[in-house]
Symmetry: C2
Subunit: 627 residues, 2 copies
């Protein structure tokens, strides 16, 4: 093992002391909070001590410094120990730790980026490694910098399949700047984990998945130090340190026992704190200190003000799928900003994200059929504003990663999601492939922005706007062709609806989006032929919805509206409109959507069978005018 | 290998012939349909031929016979080959295969249980094995019958973490009645899989995860037959047959080539069909036939008319959490029906599903921290009406399995989901643990029934009703205590709201549920003290919502309503009410919900901070009366 120097005896003792200090802080802060997970902190105390005070290179004063090593605490419930490590490192006073879990304190029950030393929210288990992968991929391939990424995973959460998706990703992409640590403390929440202390099985699984795996005593600071050194010098594959630990380590009568998950130590606290203090040799100022990065080699990047390299270039009346326009726009923004990247789950020839791969293969990350890894990797790649990720797959397959997307909002991520093959209009592949609940899902994400462009021009602009929009964005794109209805120079904006057909004598409003906007336009023309004026509105963004335009127009026509969407009834465009008009008297809204699990069939036939076609809209219009 | 007899030469040829017939059917049916995945069918033709005509024991005339072997095609896009196998086996005329993907035909693009020989819908990848696990667990532990379960997984989809969760489950529970087949055909949709033909790595991974793994040439019927025999005689662990195959096998100039995923063969069809016909030795009636089960040893079970063993026994004014009442009710229905089971993801001491484990450990299945496996296993366990599963975890963690739940609806499953720790009222653990989008998710599931009981009495009845309700049910339960408001003999029904406070002079309606119903009652009392009559409605089921009761009452009080829910604004109770009142003029609805990512803090403080407390409802009531 090249260049490995054994730790000086004093340093060893200091790292042991720090570990016990972290334990003490974890006990006392959860005791004050009256809730929390001190035993889960105890098992990782030496791991954190060695990482934060010996191995990792970072700037305490600038936690998000781009050249610093990254640390992801996947087992977020051990937050008190992590907070304590940063406090001991000097970022904030140790006394602040007693604000843990108080309303108004950023030292929450689980870590969130409200804290400047946290890159991503954790607490839903099994998600940290995918995020670490994203960071490591960026570090190795885009930043080409020397920072390393450490991810600490609990053994309980390693039952999550997302962990194994991510283990595979890391080995496939040879992320040797990544070090995974498994905290094998044997005990889950309600019973022992399925593998207990069988570290050999963990090792075998990790090796079979392509990792360099090292088993250590997770409470031995020298073994840990050596393992992290080995990890740093192992090239061509990521390293996993399988740390055998004890839950509640050094907590007499609690250590390694069941029924101590997620509980402050209560009456035992004082005695155990005394016991821990007795183990500490140096109670004075720390003798070891965090090490700064060797090189400031992750250079600043600019991801602001991203533009299409050229405006949309279509003719009104052209017929093409919005997914095709997505592929075009993705390349156009990539041409103007080198940090635009795309990730996909083996659907790139359906979503047209392959266009970016063809333009610049280095900026396309194939995540294979593993949507949780796909989404998590993108969230990691977006951290510290290093890249602008566009993540695509079939809209419905994002349901596979709803938990990751939900956590993405807590992580304040700026990832852009692009879902193709929405609705029954995909046709013969049938219901398993149809996005019919994706709007409900993405609408429920706090702060999300949802684009649902109806043609190629608006799709290109949606992509451009999404790239510059903070928070999670979702662009819903169609499989079948739609007609270009907007001129190339039309100006779109988030939260600005477009009135696409209008006449002062209109008697009702029809709101459609994507494929159903096209049906709405056809319906309006048919209605026009029988003397009924139907105004047509394209919301462009489903969230935020242009409440004013919608309400004003519905009022102008006499209070009648139809909303038609290729989605189930719940949580989509229809309910967005109903929310917008909730406080309006004298508005009635007829909602047309997919009423049940659909079948395979040709797209047009399905639109008709499930009530979304122009003819059905015409009938609904005639009916609502009687009400 | 005990009792293994080599196949007779004629049988070998016949199985080869059948495989090529399946290929021909897959080509011609997708050719007629103008879409589909013939090359993905070709790689599994021998696997299906050997399984359906030599290995499996089942009744062609009664595909859902309880004693028959089960087969799950996890790679659902290979449906045409599966349909062809059943047609060749004699279930329906081979000529019907040309109805593939036609609107109205049950031979859809991906399999669904609209077909009597399909137990579950597949097509969203990586989900079949968890379902097979559920079937195998029931076969081994509840039915104690001799049927075996076969699950065919594609190599592309084996990148899904859900597969590895399920592999672990199967080995942990020693499901030796399960045989997993990996179809390693090397090619994904848009590029080769990450492992290509590296069958040795698949073997190592499966062995590390506790399987008996056998690598075979997936086009050699004798090797396959031998492997399936070995699987059947291997005790104490499940067996995986790793079949090295070629995508488009026996399709000249297409076999093993890229860019042939999901495409009919077009102009190549006729030539390739001729080629395949030339390989068939016996073009006449089949010489081998499916084998019936050796024993009819899976006995009928009755899962109808399930009742609580005793009525709720609380006092009005008692204070306890609905999650506690859930645990009580679960045991009560288990006492009256031996097929009631519970599954949980290491949260049983928080959700109180542990009560069933304490009552009868055999009917509790610990799925550890792997929610996709948890949900999939339950769907498998519910198949063929063998059990009544109740699946519990924190409400928000069901987002991890949204795709599985969505597919559950396509599978026509009857699984009951129970989500605890919903909303900000969980308190200090913070946003990662709060269910704030679970109603949006479950509402978007077609045919779902959503219970949101406010007290212990209604919770017990919700559990009883859920057990007897077809389709997916979801019961949303609270962490903190709520006050018992219903008498023990109160009769609840799906779709029947309860008016819990009412006066002829009421001026508005407040609709709350769960914890917010309690706030609504308090608010109504406070409003009463200042001379404002506020009627309070408990929807009991959010879906179906009791539209009539809600509209009638809002009209009666003059058209004003407040909906307050511990959930984000989108897709929950508020939008359900807005959908119910969409076509009503003169109704305005003020919606109160959680407006952004919440923080850690004490439950009551959080309810107040995010606008859900009684005081905020009072203010909203005073404001809406001015409008």
């Amino acid at each position: 093992m090249a260049n490995y120097h054994k730790l000086d005896g004093k340093v060893v003792q200091e790292l042991k002391d720090i570990a016990n200090k972290l334990r003490i802080h974890s006990i006392s802060s959860t005791q004050v909070a009256k809730s929390g997970h001190p035993t889960s902190c105890a098992s990782i105390a030496e791991i954190l001590s060695v990482l934060f005070f010996n191995t990792m290179r970072y700037k305490v004063s600038a936690p998000r410094d781009p050249s610093s090593d990254r640390f992801v605490l996947s087992k977020g419930h051990a937050a008190p120990a992590l907070y304590a490590a940063w406090a001991e490192a000097g970022l904030f006073p140790v006394s602040d730790l007693n604000n843990l879990r108080k309303l108004g304190s950023d030292l929450e029950g689980h870590p969130t980026p409200r804290l400047n030393f946290i890159d991503v929210g954790t607490g839903s288990l099994g998600q940290g490694l995918a995020i670490a992968n994203g960071m490591a991929y960026v570090g190795k391939n885009y930043d080409k910098a020397s920072y390393r990424v450490y991810c600490l995973v609990g053994d309980g959460e390693s039952a999550e399949g997302s962990i194994w998706e991510s283990v595979h990703f890391a080995s496939y992409y040879k992320l040797d700047n990544l070090c995974l640590i498994f905290d094998v403390n044997r005990l889950g929440q309600s019973e022992p984990t399925s593998l207990g202390h069988d570290v050999d099985t963990y090792r075998k699984r990790l090796e079979a998945f392509g990792f360099h795996a090292i088993v250590v005593d997770g409470h031995d600071v020298e073994e840990l130090n050596k393992a992290f050194h080995t990890a740093a010098t192992t090239k061509g594959k990521p390293t996993a340190v399988v740390a055998k630990t004890l839950k509640g380590k050094n907590f007499p009568k609690i250590e390694d026992l069941e029924n101590w998950h997620g509980k402050p130590l209560g009456e035992h606290s004082d005695k155990i704190i005394s016991h821990l203090k007795g183990m500490i040799k140096n109670a004075g100022p720390l003798q070891v200190h965090p090490q700064k990065p060797l090189k400031d080699d992750a250079f600043p990047v600019d991801i602001t003000n991203i533009k299409l390299s050229s405006p949309p270039a279509y003719k009104i009346g052209d017929s093409l799928a919005t997914r095709v326009a997505y592929g075009t726009a993705l390349v156009k923004i990539a041409q103007t900003n080198p940090r635009v990247i795309a990730l996909d789950g083996d659907m790139k020839n359906s979503t047209f994200s392959e266009n970016l791969k063809k333009f610049d293969a280095s900026r396309y990350i194939e995540c294979f059929i593993a949507e949780q890894s796909l989404v998590g990797t993108a969230i990691g790649a977006a951290c510290r504003d290093r890249t602008v990720p566009f993540v695509s797959t079939f809209a419905t397959f994002f349901t596979r990663a709803f938990d990751q997307i939900r956590m993405g909002a807590i992580s304040q991520t700026n990832v852009n999601f692009v879902g193709s093959h929405c609705g029954v209009s995909i046709g013969e592949d049938g219901p398993s492939q149809m996005g019919l609940e994706d709007l409900a899902m993405f609408r429920s994400i706090p702060g999300s922005t949802i684009f649902y462009p109806a043609d190629a021009v608006s799709t290109e602009r949606a992509v451009e706007l999404a790239a510059n929009t903070k928070g999670i964005t979702f662009i819903r794109i169609n499989r079948p062709n739609t007609t270009v209805i907007y001129p190339n120079d039309h100006v779109f904006a988030v939260g600005k609806a477009e009135v696409v057909r209008s006449n002062p004598k209109d008697q009702l409003v029809i709101i459609g989006a994507g494929i159903t906007l096209q049906e709405a336009i056809t319906a309006s023309k048919k209605l026009s032929a029988v003397g009924i004026g139907a105004r047509v509105i394209d919301p462009f963004t489903v969230k935020p919805l242009d409440k004013n335009t919608i309400i004003e127009n519905i009022k102008e026509v006499g209070g009648r509206a139809i909303v038609v969407e290729d989605h189930y009834f719940e949580g989509g465009l229809g309910e967005a409109v109903l929310s917008a008009t909730a406080m309006e008297r004298n508005i009635i809204v007829k909602h047309i959507a997919v009423p049940r699990v659909p079948r395979s069939g040709p797209p047009a036939a399905l639109l008709d069978r499930y009530g979304l076609s122009a003819d059905h809209i015409v009938t609904a219009a005639q009916e609502i005018l009687k009400m």
